[in-house]
Symmetry: C2
Subunit: 345 residues, 2 copies
């Protein structure tokens, strides 16, 4: 089959490799219907040292079950399934507490002998716990929105969930990438009163408004902070959803959060140390949380929302390539020509 | 009257100064019955640069109302009152949300023209919102426990409250100072299943056990972390209450917290930057919160618990001095000869 590998910064290649096979009796093989490129794929695209061995790429997909290990239950060959971007047994203590990305038997696609999803086929470990079948016949137009449940929408949802978004709350979303826009949509779903989107790409913030943003702040840094404080009567935002991962976004977050408020992060931090002392978080009793989204915890509730048309998170996909052209998908996203690119094997 | 001032590290003096007077119509004057020295007073005691002007010291007290400004309501001359360590109007939006230490009209004793509480008398701004009268005649033996509601016990309580301590939870308390021991007592009150106290002063951890600690870990650093992990089946602690404020305590906190868990800090951070990235908080979806305790939010519920004997937080006071000997109180606490020292004017 064909599969995508990264060999270093900017070096993405599609190669012919052997089809995956069942390794553990808990594995499934899935033939991929739709995959895509993630904002987080751009981090290695910028910084990966050049190597002789390629890293398998892609961790978001929907597809058809092709083969099942002997111990897999709850799935049958031919099922259309969604996979979270991380696999998990869905039964260990951490999974039961809703933190599937910490599963004791879980892991990540593209690492430890498991392939990537920008490919024709993939081996899914812990298939019973990981894959969620989509019931009934599905209108093809809904497939991108179902694919969005694999990562991007439910990562935005995780931010809003950890931020305890709800009625009466003002939410500021930092970042107009696909995750930030998804966080806007999730905040709207959860009933936030006021949703301020910090971003400066007009086409993206336009989609943000359609998703539910009530205000857009294009300014950054101190100017952006001043603007959000102005929009919140000088008090700051109850909840800040940080969907970027770079230090200036973190600094904006503690600048705009109100005393007693929450900063919920889902942008993968590109830093280890950050201000958390009296002058940033402690003095204001600010809560900092978030992390890799336990998407698996949220998929089942989101599927009927997509099927009924209540949410349309697939609108973040504004471009499409074939698997052979996946390198072009990276280029489009890296240059911000595209927001998020579907990849069709 | 006599009042305590600090002129630099290690330099604490009691001086004769004019009695405070009503400045704002919302002020009250309180004659102090009992005050004490706080663990946080030791930070300037170690590091304050020597100056010509002394800083008024002390922010914990109970006392008798001596005089009321014309706009003060809900209090009368002669009332025995508890003051939180920060004053607040108890009516602004932040107070109503339970974060009185961020009050729009609030502030701190010993700053901005307001005196300290290691004194014979004190001016209390925003008296209607700040002071809580203690109903009925009070047994003198209960006064230390009522004083503990001014800061130390309810600071420990705030840690447990923000950490969402409750039945089914394992709590690790870092620090065997008076706030750490108070956090143990609060966690016990809130129904925690297992309370692990990290501390190495046997007399203190002994009181911790009487307050409800189920386990004591004397080791620190990696060894201490390994011990807590062992006590939690390798999974880590649902809640970590950090009552020290130094970096090694913070490092222990993220070492022992379980995925999806909470680190709640009430030790005033003696650092601004700290690890919060993938390797510390983000990867495990850990929540970091806490800050200056909004003690005012919790005092009313705690008074009947003290009066009924349900809690006895005053047991953290293991020593006593007169106001004239307050410098000795600092020395006793600094040398760890005393856990926490009562000061009787």
């Amino acid at each position: 089959m064909r599969a995508t590998f990264m060999y270093g910064a900017g070096d993405v290649r599609v190669e012919e490799v052997p089809d995956p096979t069942i390794v553990q009796p808990t594995d499934a093989l899935v033939r991929i219907t739709l995959a895509c490129v993630c904002g987080s794929d751009l981090h290695p695209y910028h910084s990966m040292p050049t190597g002789e061995e390629g890293t398998p790429m892609g961790h978001e997909f929907i597809g058809l079950v092709e083969e099942l290990g002997s111990e897999v239950t709850g799935l049958k060959v031919g099922d259309l399934v969604i996979s979270p971007f991380a696999f998990s047994d869905n039964t260990c203590e951490f999974c039961r507490e809703g933190f599937h990305t910490a599963c004791k038997h879980g892991g990540w696609y593209g690492a430890g002998g498991v392939g990537g999803a920008q490919a024709e086929m993939i081996r899914v470990p812990q298939a019973s716990g990981t894959l969620v079948p989509i019931p009934g016949d599905v209108d093809e137009k809904l497939l991108p929105s179902l694919l969005a449940l694999s990562d991007v929408y439910l990562t935005g949802y995780h931010a809003a969930h950890m931020g305890n978004v709800g009625p009466g709350k003002t939410v500021t979303v930092i970042g107009d990438g696909a995750v930030g826009l998804s966080a806007v949509l999730a905040s709207k779903q959860m009933g936030a009163d006021k949703i301020i989107l910090m971003g400066r790409h007009v086409d993206r913030t336009g989609l943000g408004r359609r998703f539910g943003a009530t205000d857009v702040v294009a300014e950054r840094g101190d100017e952006g902070i001043a603007k959000v404080l102005e929009l919140t009567g000088g008090e700051g935002s109850h909840v800040v959803l940080e969907a970027v991962g770079h230090m200036p976004a973190y600094e904006q977050a503690y600048g705009v959060v109100r005393p007693g408020g929450v900063i919920s992060r889902v942008g993968v931090p590109q830093y280890e140390d950050a201000p958390v002392g009296f002058g940033s978080l402690f003095g204001k009793n600010v809560t900092l949380n978030g992390g890799p989204a336990p998407v698996r915890a949220y998929i089942e509730a989101a599927i009927p929302q997509v099927l009924s048309g209540e949410i349309d998170p697939g609108r973040v996909f504004d471009s499409e390539t074939t698997l052979d052209d996946v390198a072009e998908a990276y280029r489009l996203m890296d240059s911000r020509t595209a927001l998020k690119v579907l990849v069709r094997p």
